[in-house]
């Protein structure tokens, strides 16, 4: 039927129905169309082909589906960032050589170690508790050192109470309010000692519901510097960011900024350091501004260094005391 049409005419007809001709081409084609009956039939057939194919158009994805894809993407990118962020041992070695802190290194190390030991002591203090509220059975279990048997009951948090289940001969359940000292101490213990990262993460998450306290701060610093799980370190440092950035926190942040393999943790350390910059940060920032694998962290370190050069002619003087 369409043998009377050549390929050029057919192509122009296809482009015409698809609205893909230029104005000139369209005028020319329409002129030809009025005179050619075969071409008119051909165009009609093409138009109906397009009409039919429009029925086959896929529906628009709904917002819930898109949101679930966004969440999945977020998880994929986080996993990718974790893989990428490891500093090579060579760079770490260079960092150690290049770093020249105005404060002697042993002072930094000592303050961080004190924080760590203090955190441990807090937990050990269960050995002689003088608490009236919890049952005697819990105390006995604590004394006997069967800490590994402590779990979170249900989701851990219920009606503003933190609930623990203790697997023992009695299968106890313990619940206490946020300001209950035994509860916070149990959270400290789980965060610092439990083998299960899920429980450690739950513990640090629940700690954010408790009142900020010196003891909590020390435990969080310990977790930040020692936990092998980046999620727990990240949660710890974010919780630490709610505290006034004193010297111990700043020292821990410097160590994290230089050594932690996780970019998100290092970024959080940078957030805290930016709140109250001191001149003692300069050497660490100089190293990070050059060596960090993450451009954004390098840029922020450079920005902070610029802040020092503008405001502090003598880098050995602290801006905020």
């Amino acid at each position: 039927m369409y043998n009377a049409l050549n390929d050029h005419q057919k192509q122009q007809a296809s482009l015409y129905v698809l609205d893909a001709l230029t104005e000139n081409e369209q005028s020319k084609f329409e002129l030809e169309l009025t005179e050619n009956e075969f071409l008119q039939n051909y165009v009609r057939e093409l138009e109906s082909t397009l009409d039919i194919s429009s029925i086959g158009e896929m529906l628009v994805p709904n917002e819930i589906e898109l949101q679930s894809q966004r969440n999945l993407l977020r998880a994929n990118l986080d996993a990718m960032a974790l893989k990428k962020s490891k500093l090579s041992p060579g760079i770490l070695y260079q960092i150690k050589i290049w770093i020249q802190t105005p404060t002697p290194a042993w002072v930094n190390l000592a303050s961080v170690s004190v924080a760590f030991i203090f955190g441990l002591l807090i937990v050990k203090s269960h050995e002689s508790p003088e608490k009236n509220k919890p049952t005697i059975n819990i105390k006995e279990i604590l004394k006997s050192g069967q800490f590994g048997q402590i779990k979170f009951a249900d989701n851990g948090l219920h009606d503003n109470h933190i609930r623990f289940a203790v697997e023992s001969k009695q299968d106890l359940e313990l619940s206490g309010s946020m300001d209950d000292e035994l509860v916070t101490d149990l959270l400290f213990y789980l965060l610092l000692h439990d083998q299960n990262p899920g429980k450690r993460l739950k513990a640090v998450k629940l700690l954010q519901n408790t009142q900020p306290a010196q003891e909590t701060k020390m435990v969080l610093i310990s977790a930040l510097l020692t936990d092998s799980n980046p999620g727990i370190r990240l949660k710890s440092i974010r919780l630490l960011s709610t505290y006034k950035p004193g010297k111990i926190i700043q020292d821990a942040c410097m160590k994290v900024l230089l050594e932690d393999e996780n970019e998100a943790v290092r970024l959080s350390a940078m957030d805290i350091m930016e709140k109250a910059p001191t001149a003692s940060m300069i050497p660490a920032l100089q190293v990070v501004s050059v060596l960090d694998k993450n451009d954004f962290i390098r840029d922020r370190a450079q920005d902070l260094l610029r802040h020092f050069s503008m405001d502090v002619p003598n880098p050995r003087l602290e801006i905020n005391s």
């Binding site: 057919k10 192509q11 296809s14 482009l15 129905v17 698809l18 893909a20 057939e45 093409l46 109906s48 082909t49 397009l50 039919i52 194919s53 429009s54 029925i55 086959g56 158009e57 896929m58 529906l59 628009v60 994805p61 589906e65 898109l66 894809q69 966004r70 999945l72 993407l73 977020r74 994929n76 990118l77 990718m80 960032a81 970019e263 993450n294 451009d295 954004f296 962290i297 840029d299």
Partner: protein
């Protein structure tokens, strides 16, 4: 380019993942629609979506602000689709898949009101799946996405003439296949 988008791109290029996620939420619906049109399969479209944005995240430093961000994303989408098609065709060759299997891909939405529509949709999907990848891509971009020839040629990095030829060939193949549904 809007200033807001531009600043998000700059932030994302500095490694700010939140800025990148914000960019994703601006553009992902259009990417998903294109992915659905190209793959005609929800699961494949979701895989394509993830691949596109993972690639975009890795390569965002190389994006130059003078071009359109969406055009760039489109190009990644189409290239990723080509890669998927190549992989699929290799697997098909290796496993000697039943050619009927393609038609079992469930692209028909459950909410379709009539069986006729469902039948037509299935036929269109089948017809599109039988087109060579480039013809299908160009047809989808023109007919479903309403893009201009110049935009398509820019994204696919081919000449305007090639785009027109692919369109023509696609139409030539679809016309007889869909002819029987003309009066439904």
């Amino acid at each position: 380019m809007e200033n807001n988008i531009k600043s998000l791109i700059l932030e994302a290029q500095r490694g700010n993942t939140e800025a990148f996620h914000e960019l994703v939420s601006f553009y992902d619906e259009r990417v998903m629609i294109l992915a659905l049109q190209l793959t005609r399969d929800k699961q494949d479209a979701e895989d394509l979506y993830q691949e596109v944005f993972m690639k975009a995240f890795k390569a965002i430093e190389s994006f130059r602000l003078e071009s359109e961000f969406f055009t760039w994303l489109y190009r990644i989408t189409v290239n990723s689709f080509y890669n998927l098609q190549r992989k699929a065709s290799r697997i098909q060759q290796q496993e000697s898949l039943d050619p009927e299997k393609e038609s079992t891909h469930n692209i028909a939405d459950e909410t379709m009101s009539t069986s006729e529509k469902s039948e037509i949709r299935s036929a269109v999907s089948k017809a599109l799946s039988q087109l060579p990848t480039q013809q299908k891509t160009v047809f989808v971009m023109k007919h479903y996405e309403g893009m201009k020839i110049r935009e398509i040629s820019n994204i696919l990095d081919i000449s305007d003439g090639s785009v027109k030829r692919y369109l023509f060939r696609a139409m030539e193949k679809l016309r007889p296949v869909l002819k029987e549904y003309r009066y439904v």
